[in-house]
């Protein structure tokens, strides 16, 4: 009895070990072709993967859809679904030769008809400005289209390269109706959508038929990583711990405040990316006391950008004194319009506006204290910066009451127009971001500043639609940018350096990151190590 029990135990043990040995390489192989990335925090909370209607372009959009054109880090344009293009001398006709042999994830072909169907879909959406200059799309042949313009648009190529201009499958789009982008998302990109939960995760599966990668990628065929899980983690410290403990393989956008911690982890490699955005404070120009230009200016001058960069971020990143990233020519404005810290002038302006210092240091006017709502989203970096801004505002006698909102709900909160100040950020490398955040046509969100200024509107339209050449566009946007800053609807704070962090024992990331950010071209080239 004892012997037979022992033999049974031995047999079971042997079988278990044998199974373990047999399965070990299999599980390693499965794991080897999968990777988990953490979304950049600015991508969190996107409610839809419909590129036509979304107001938030994410890494998932850029992997599911391809664009006609790709932009490189040096702002040059490269072919993708469009193999070539040419413009008439007056800028009123654009002809695009399309790539042949491209199919959508649902098997539908990509051709000229797709483009003729796709461009008009933008009408009436938040993104219609991208193709507002296009009067109509003519089909020249199966793989050639011509854009007939209402007016020249010096920004057309940039728009076509933006993440919002990923081309969806007409058949899937029409079939899904309003649910497109929520239950289904079909493009021609290197990854297919498996599932997506707002604020949680997006699971993407490799497109096995992909063989039309852009020239920004070394690998023009299917991606190396078979299964890609994109997680949304609001707490940046949690992202750090996940990477450190192997829960994720890459954090796409590392907050500068935690950079030194990431660099201290043995298996973690960091890689610098081009600067791509600004932290800023919109001022609600429709809410008291910020209807008064003097109060807005005082508030702006209270923000000490240099202190934030040198102390809070220990010199990583740049202070922002204009609303545009420093690599854009439109950011090189007359220095007199740059917003720079000046505590003495800020206090003087509030005195002039009738706000006098009360006994507790908080200013008062007509018996009402200068207490304002200061909103931000729940991410660690936003909360941190908002607390510093709160302390800097206190120095001019303004009491900022912080309100923290969930990232997926804060945009709807702005639309209710109950905010006064907010700490926000954007990621964009074109001057038309001024139009996006300050157009009187988009009040609430994205125009969180609720700015509605006749002269501003005139200059905005001139910059956006009245420029025939790139040089003219730059000049017009500079004038608009200067006027915006002179009215203080926004306070630029900080231009962060962007950094990617990944587990180098798990992943091999291309040496040179092509494109203005870490996106499809680089992910196609990223390999999971054996």
């Amino acid at each position: 009895m004892t012997h037979s029990t022992s033999r049974l135990k031995l047999a079971l043990l042997s079988a278990t070990l044998a199974c373990g040995v047999a399965l070990a390489p299999l599980s390693a192989a499965v794991a080897a072709s999968e990777a988990v990335f953490v979304f950049p925090n600015s991508h969190n909370g996107a409610p839809t993967l419909n590129p036509v209607k979304t107001t938030l372009d994410t890494l998932a959009h850029e992997l599911i859809y391809d664009r006609l054109i790709e932009q490189d880090a040096d702002q040059t344009y490269h072919p993708h679904l469009a193999e070539s293009w040419e413009s008439s001398p007056d800028g009123m006709l654009w002809t695009f030769k399309l790539r042949q042999g491209v199919t959508f994830h649902d098997g539908e072909p990509f051709n000229a008809k797709t483009i003729a169907w796709w461009i008009p879909k933008f009408a009436g959406t938040d993104n219609d400005y991208l193709v507002a200059a296009v009067d109509k799309v003519e089909i020249v042949d199966d793989y050639t289209v011509r854009f007939v313009m209402k007016h020249p648009d010096a920004n057309l190529l940039y728009n076509l390269a933006s993440g919002f201009m990923g081309v969806p499958s007409p058949k899937a789009y029409e079939a899904a109706g309003d649910t497109y982008g929520v239950t289904v998302a079909v493009g021609t990109g290197p990854y297919k959508l498996d599932h997506f939960t707002t604020g949680v995760e997006t699971l993407l599966i490799r497109n096995e038929d992909y063989k039309w990668g852009s020239e920004l990628a070394a690998n023009r065929g299917k991606a190396h990583i078979e299964k890609l899980l994109l997680r949304e983690i609001v707490d940046e410290a949690a992202s750090y711990l996940e990477l450190k403990t192997g829960g994720v393989d890459m954090v796409v956008d590392v907050p500068n405040a935690l950079l030194s911690q990431y660099k201290s982890v043995k298996d973690v490699e960091t890689k610098a990316l081009p600067s791509y955005g600004i932290f800023y404070m919109p001022i609600n120009t429709s809410a008291e006391p910020f209807t008064d230009l003097k109060v807005r200016k005082a508030t702006a001058l209270a923000v000490n950008q240099e202190e934030i960069v040198s102390r809070l971020y220990r010199g990583v990143g740049k202070p922002a004194h204009t609303f545009l990233i420093s690599s854009l020519p439109e950011s090189k404005i007359n220095p007199q319009f740059e917003i720079r810290h000046d505590l003495r002038q800020a206090n003087q302006l509030l005195d002039e506006a009738g706000w006098k210092k009360g006994p507790n240091g908080i200013r008062e006017k007509d018996g009402k204290p200068l207490t304002v709502k200061l909103w931000t989203q729940g991410d660690t970096e936003f909360k941190r910066m908002t607390e510093v801004i709160q302390a800097q505002l206190k120095a001019i006698g303004m009491n900022g009451e912080i309100g923290v909102f969930d990232v997926s709900s804060i945009r709807d909160q702005y639309k209710k127009n109950q905010h006064q100040l907010a700490v926000r950020s954007y990621g964009w490398n074109n001057a038309d971001i001024l139009d996006w955040f300050l157009s009187a046509e988009r009040q609430g969100y994205p125009n969180v500043s609720m700015w509605k200024d006749p002269k501003g509107e005139e200059l905005r339209k001139a910059a956006l639609t009245g420029s025939k050449t790139t040089e003219e566009r730059i000049a017009n946007f500079k004038i608009y940018h200067e006027y915006v800053l002179s009215q203080y609807p926004v306070v630029p704070i900080y231009e962060p350096d962007r950094t990617l962090a990944y587990n180098k024992t798990r992943l091999t990331v291309p040496e040179k990151i092509r494109g203005p950010k870490f996106t499809a071209a680089s992910i196609i080239d990223t390999k999971v190590n054996d």
Binding site: D235, E236, A237, Y240, A257, L258, S260, Q261, S264, E307, I308, R311, L312, G378, T380, K383, R384, T386, E387, V388, Q390, A391, K394, E401, I402, G403, V404
Partner: protein, 290 residues
């Protein structure tokens, strides 16, 4: 000699601790007293203003200048912990007082009158037991908006059911007793019976539970603070301090560990002292000892 001194010392400690329910109770009672003292006199005791940022002194370790170090904004952690005691204790005590008062009132009425009023009210109250306390509190704060007042209300509602149930059970058990019947026969009204006869006899266990619940309430406040739903910046609550310092866990662990330690200590003090008082005041035990 030394043994004798030790024995004498232990005996003295036991003697001193006796009114507080033993040595453990005495130590925890003293600790709790110290926390209350610190909370009451925070402005006098804190070496710096709790919201005074100094970005040149971010994440400094404990030193003679800053006993508990500085946080991620260069603020003095000691000063924030001292002010945090005020928030944590006052929220905990206020929420439990509110919850117990409402629970006693509703429970007494339900237990005394019974019938349909009792069934409907208790069904509604019992609904709150369908959810974990933290979930219920989070939902309430989300509805009311983050802040200290919302936190107090949320915690009070989260613990309402237990006080209501307890009081109702006590009142139901007592209302059939002879002394209540006698009082009723002598013409006493409902209010007189409830206030003079039932509640004084029903309250003892409720008060003990209230004391023990205060520790839980402080923990719940810290949890809500950690989720950013409690005291809003720059007001320091221990939970919020742990939350905002969590990003610095590996660079400046004291920013997280120290407030966490104070949360743990306050809960231990309250629970041990509560238990000790319960044991010390227990009439049955006294009789048995006698």
């Amino acid at each position: 000699m030394s043994l004798s001194l030790k024995t004498q010392g232990a005996a003295t400690l036991r003697l001193l601790g006796k009114p507080f329910g033993g040595i453990g109770g005495a130590i925890c009672g003293a600790g709790l007293g110290l926390f209350i003292f610190v909370a009451l006199f925070a402005p006098l005791l804190a070496p710096y203003a709790y919201d005074a940022q100094d970005l040149a002194r971010i994440g400094l370790p404990p030193s003679a200048e800053n006993w508990f170090g500085t946080d991620e904004f260069g603020r003095d952690v000691l000063s924030r912990v001292i002010y945090g005691a005020r928030i944590s204790l006052s929220v905990g005590l206020t929420a439990v007082a509110l919850s117990a008062s409402a629970g006693i009132l509703i429970g007494a009425l339900c237990g005394y009158f019974g019938g349909r009023f009792d069934r409907i009210t208790m069904a509604a109250i019992d609904l709150t037991w369908c959810f974990p306390e933290i979930l219920l509190a989070l939902v309430l704060v989300a509805i009311l908006g983050p802040g200290l007042n919302s936190t107090v209300i949320a915690i009070a509602v989260a613990y309402l059911a237990q006080f209501t149930r307890l009081t109702r059970t006590q009142v139901r058990a007592l209302k059939g007793e002879t002394f209540v019947e006698v009082s009723r026969c002598l013409g006493a009204g409902h209010a007189h019976i409830l206030l003079r006869h039932l509640l004084p006899n029903a309250l003892a266990p409720v008060i003990v539970v209230a004391m023990l619940t205060t520790g839980d309430a402080i923990l719940l406040e810290a949890t809500l603070g950690f989720f950013g739903m409690g005291a809003q910046p720059p007001t320091p609550s221990w939970g919020a301090m742990m939350s905002s310092g969590s990003a610095q866990l590996f660079n400046a662990p004291w920013v997280v560990i120290i407030p966490g330690l104070f949360v743990a200590l306050s809960v231990i003090f309250i629970n041990v002292y509560g238990d000790a008082i319960l044991a010390a005041l227990d009439v049955k035990n006294r009789i048995r000892r006698a």
